[in-house]
């Protein structure tokens, strides 16, 4: 008797909310995929199809070839990969300095990094536009790579200094005794141990660049230079929206972010949770 009541309770207060949570999270993604695989006529057909009865990939072909998603994808990839490379190098160096050295001004530097977390990103759109316009870098991927690096560096530096702090100092000292230079010990001893941390930082940075919208919108004014978010937004704003191609474009944009997230989820959750916890 008691047992069946507690089971009912468990269903009511645990499995039901859990199912609702799962549905709430997954449904918008499912609906987009569902729309992406429908023929143009079937999208607006009544009764609404909750599952594509005659699935097609024509939307993907149109999005990729005609609407420009091949270009947007390539632009996002260029900006993302370049930013990741720069961020990894710079934040490994500064993270190393923070976790391994005591030096004058360290506290101020840390404070400066923390302060950046409170800078409203939207505050940057006007001055950065003016700066990059004077440098002739509007619609140039460089302006985005530089901006994203500046925005991400403070957080990734803190993240990397945490990862580096977890590696015992003795290993480096042993390398130094064996006659390795600072850079050699960094490259040969630290780097392999740091790899998981580097991967997490890289994924975190890549997802940010892949998703960023407002700065990319402000710093790009040629369609051939649009990144995916700007391209999607542009498409949504058109008078006659091609919903099938829009949904297909979204699925294209979704795939890399979700795959990377799934791959590095554990590290990201630990890193993000740890960083916020302080």
């Amino acid at each position: 008797m008691v047992n069946s009541r507690s089971r009912t309770n468990k269903i009511l207060f645990f499995y039901l909310p859990l199912t609702l949570m799962f549905t709430w999270t997954i449904f918008p993604i499912y609906w987009t995929i569902n729309t992406a695989f429908k023929h143009e006529g079937d999208i607006v057909k009544r009764p609404l199809e909750y599952f594509p009865t005659a699935p097609t990939v024509e939307n993907f072909v149109v999005a990729w070839n005609n609407v420009g998603f091949a270009t947007f994808f390539k632009n996002s990839l260029i900006v993302g990969i370049s930013t990741v490379l720069v961020v990894i190098v710079l934040s490994t160096l500064s993270g190393y300095a923070l976790s391994r050295y005591k030096f004058k001004g360290k506290r101020s530097f840390l404070l400066m990094l923390l302060a950046t977390q409170f800078i409203p990103r939207a505050m940057l759109i006007i001055p950065l536009f003016i700066i990059f316009k004077s440098m002739g870098l509007i619609s140039n991927p460089l302006s985005l790579i530089i901006t994203y690096t500046a925005v991400e560096i403070p957080f990734t530096t803190i993240l990397m200094s945490g990862f580096i702090g977890n590696i015992p100092r003795d290993l480096e000292e042993a390398a130094a005794v064996d006659g390795a230079s600072k850079l050699q010990s960094l490259r040969l001893v630290m780097l392999p141990l740091l790899l998981p941390g580097i991967v997490a930082t890289a994924v975190f940075t890549f997802i940010y660049t892949w998703n960023e919208f407002l700065l990319a919108l402000m710093l790009t004014n040629q369609q051939s230079k649009f990144t995916l978010p700007v391209g999607l937004s542009f498409m949504m704003g058109e008078f006659n929206v091609n919903y099938g191609a829009l949904a297909a474009g979204s699925v294209i944009a979704l795939i890399p972010a979700v795959i990377l997230f799934a791959y590095a989820q554990k590290h990201l959750v630990n890193g993000l949770g740890g960083a916020v916890k302080g």
Partner: protein, 307 residues
Amino acid sequence: MSSKQLSGDVKVKRKFKIDNWIPYLFILPSFLIIATFLFYPIGTVFYYSFQHYDISAPFYNKFAGFENFVKIFTADKLFFPSLMTSLKWVVSQVGLQLIFGLLFAVMLNQTFKLRGFVRAIAFIPWAISGVLASVMWSLMYNEHMGVFNDILMKLGIISEPQAFLASTSSAFIAVVIAELWRGIPFFAITLLASLQSIPEELYEASDIDGANKWESFIHITLPHLKNTIVLTTLLRTVWEFNNVDLIFNLTGGGPANSTTTLTMYIANLAVNGSDFGYGSALTVISFLLLFVFAMVYLKITRYERED
């Protein structure tokens, strides 16, 4: 230290010196890029806020004194309404994201089959961009093909398809719901990490003392989560105040400015390339508002950083 001692040990001193410079060399590139592309631009926002600065009519650019600020508080019909919308936006987002994030975290902290899989799914919206989320929710809100209209009509709640995003009575709520979808996982992730660091013994002890689940939640879980909650809500407030991705793409601030937050207002001015001086003045005001808020918030919540 006397100079005699120094000169006696020049070689050691010099080596010592090079080692001293290493940390500075290592942080130099990061420092430079942060200073040049974060702090310097912020500085120039303050400068431009005292200028008339129109990029399309540079001939008329000149020093404006406090004119921009005076105009904001006396002549701007959109400033106070957009500030109110920002307040509504931030309070509803942060409040609801925290409540549901906590609920998600507590559920995902239980042991059940397929927990790893369900966790991964539950966190996915965190990795999805604002623009992508906008597309997804606009497909569902759509008047002609939207699934919400279909469900609500089947349930008999509405008789005609609604354009949720085009009506002043529903647009704001619709955008809030869409942003919630994307925002809850952030709280769920950080709170789950914090939940996992609570020692199991605490619960066992309170169980022996005869406390029920709710009591141990109030007396053990919440106090333990306090610092995380204070910091995440603060970070999130700043973030949501500045976040326009969904508003920009779902409604563009409309209809009839019912979804125009202060940041959306600034973004519209900036994207349309109107007077950057005026936009900068609005930016300065939102910065000061956030700054004061952060100080007061940290003070009243007595946030303490654990070292």
